[in-house]
Symmetry: C2
């Protein structure tokens, strides 16, 4: 029996203690964890310095910044845990209740999942965020972070566990896989009967491996090839604002737009404005210009890089936008069905019928009318928090908040009923 | 490209047409399907006679009866489809709606899953039941039944498709896998991007194969090692009624009880009464007696077969009941956690505290107080119908009704919001 399996088993053994804890007990424990993150920050920063030192050679500046911890960032992690304290407890809520003609009272009651495992990459703040949300949802958690952040993650987990102990809860509720190998990922994927939900958060390769190999229930997250369709009846100024925001406000995230579809009737008018807004004007303002990769119809209207075969199926995560001209809302829906990852898509239009066709016809987690795809986020949707964004249809779709991290059971009360 | 994959692809291609259909259109199609089952019953009965002829040699009487179709049973299948017509349409319902401070209106709207695949065994009525529920839930369906019922299932699907065509919907919405091989099951399990939900309905081997090998989202159903715990504070007459009902009213189904746990303080009083009720009295009434398999403590009180090593981990599906004496509700919860499949468990007690401990502490799909486990059923829980009983915690737990056969998407309406 390996170390990883022992860690999972210990988490499962501890889970019923947390499941039986009151909302107050859980919140006290989260407060203690938040306090420990601050009191242990010397250790955490020291561990992070070692990670940064090691990563220097291999990571670019952007990735290195994601890895870096500062007192401010640790304070932010601690505050994030206190935010979880303030959220309503998702466990024990009676979702539905019915009294049957035979007198049975059937209640559908929210319960913890049990053990949630998360395989993630790079950013160490995920360690405390994910642990806090899982604990708040009443579940034990097993964390397997990336190699680059290994020491930082280990130090953060030590602080979290001290907090749990302070509050009288077993530290095994937060399991930490210290063997960052393919083998340990495989053990998580195959821990049938021990892990109730596995969430892969990271690159497409990791997510694909989990979907293909996992024998435990798994939720596909993240990859976002998000589309914006600018309809013939669009307010074009609004469209320019939305496209620029969705593409450039944070190009590295999954809800950033990667593809723009423009109705043929306005393409000759709109595309030159788009080009000006995303290239010349951004250069004037000292901002990174967006590279436009154009299909043949768009190429006939504005200059730009001709789009290659893969450009409409690529999550660029960069200042690159693929642009195509389409024949109308039906054509846009068809293009999206063929190329989208089912994350977030938007239509810009003043035509209520076109908006209705688009919201009905597009089969993605979030479908927008006249707003940026960047809003696909647990906080922005009013869930209060988020454990990743599901791009599958089973269990949870879109941002996963506390409710999506719970299950339910039926509690049936009778007075001797038989069937 | 194989036939099975073509069938799945055709179902997926047809699915958006059904997803866009109105509740009225869907109901008209179901009415047409119900009518065709009756008008085509000659063909269906002829096909069933061939199946019965072939099965004679291999199937026992009970299994043969499950396979048999009669005009009455076909009328029942047709009526079952009309029952689905009467159910509220699950698609399009706004599950939640929130207006955000920035003016965005975020709605969580129920949508069809897309393509639901079902691998099932023996009973041909599942063919029409499953197709009707999937269609009502707005999804295309791909059916792969068992070898024994192959001709019957094929004839039923032909009738269903005629009904769809009558109503102007594509017959490909109900796909039928006519290659009953391991290879075709594998193709269903691996149809990533084509199948949104795979439901295995059948024996433990089939379900296990799906959970281990499926690369498409899959829901574990069915296996039920259900427990009844008779507490020290039980009404013993009620306990006898519940145990007899849960064990004998239909021993072959997954919500039948397999294990009885009795509090040590009443064991000497209760077990002799149990034995009388389940053996002697049943023989007097001309009913099949129940074989009791006793742990060592129960063996010290009443005569019976000594329980073997596997008897507390076996879904007997027969007139056999494993019996153990436990030290109290905590011990009962522990035994259930170690041996249950997470389906249905009951406590019989007049002690509110013991009931509360049991309903909180037992982690199964349905937990009963003073009622038979036999009520775990979509109809009995007020869902109106059922596509199997989930024993996993993700997406659906317990009976799966129409709501559990849908997903949702977020529809977000704005007036130019950017982030």
């Amino acid at each position: 029996m390996s170390g990883t399996r022992d860690i999972i088993k210990a988490a499962k053994a501890a889970a019923p203690i947390l499941a039986a804890a009151t909302p107050e007990d859980k919140n006290k424990a989260l407060e203690a964890v938040a306090a420990r993150l601050l009191s242990e920050q010397g250790d955490i920063l020291a561990a992070n310095r070692e990670d940064m030192e090691q990563a220097k050679a291999t990571l670019g500046a952007v990735m290195a910044d994601r890895l870096l911890l500062t007192p401010e960032r640790i304070a932010g992690m601690s505050a994030g845990i206190r935010d979880a304290v303030a959220l309503p407890d998702p466990v024990g809520r009676v979702r539905e209740r019915v009294e049957r003609p035979n007198g049975l009272i059937v209640e559908k009651v929210a319960v913890p999942l049990g053990v949630i495992a998360i395989i993630y990459e790079s950013r160490p703040n995920v360690t405390s965020d994910a642990a806090a949300l899982a604990l708040k949802a009443g579940s034990a958690v097993v964390l397997r972070g990336g190699k680059e952040a290994f020491r930082s993650n280990a130090a953060i987990v030590r602080a979290i566990r001290l907090g749990l102990s302070d509050a009288g809860l077993p530290p095994e509720l937060v399991g930490f896989v210290d063997d960052i190998s393919r083998e340990s990922a495989k053990e998580l994927m195959e821990a049938e009967g021990l892990i109730d939900l596995l969430i892969p958060r990271g690159g497409a390769g990791l997510i694909r491996a989990c979907m293909e190999r996992a024998k435990v229930p798994c939720i596909q997250t993240g990859t976002g090839i998000c589309h914006i369709y600018v309809d013939a009846a669009a307010n074009q100024e609004m469209a320019l604002d939305i496209v620029e925001n969705a593409k450039t406000s944070r190009p590295s995230v999954c809800n950033a737009a990667e593809v723009l579809l423009v109705h043929r009737d306005i393409a000759a008018d709109f595309l030159p404005k788009l080009r000006e807004r995303l290239t010349d004007k951004r250069v004037q303002r000292g901002l990174v210009p967006v590279e436009l990769r154009l299909d043949s119809r768009a190429s006939g209207i504005i200059p730009g890089t001709p789009a290659g075969e893969r450009d409409f199926d690529t999550e660029f995560l960069d200042y690159i936008l693929a642009v195509a001209v389409v024949d109308g809302v039906g054509d846009a829906i068809g293009h999206i069905a063929a190329h989208s990852t089912g994350h977030s898509e938007a239509i810009v239009t003043e035509d209520a019928d076109a908006a209705e066709r688009f919201t009905r016809g597009v089969d993605s987690a979030a479908v927008y009318v006249n707003a940026s795809t960047r809003f696909t986020d647990g906080g922005e949707f009013g869930l209060g928090c988020e454990m990743g964004i599901s791009t599958q249809k089973l269990h949870a779709r879109g941002p996963m908040g506390l409710e999506e991290l719970t299950s339910y059971k039926y509690v049936v009360r009778g007075n001797g009923q038989t069937r």
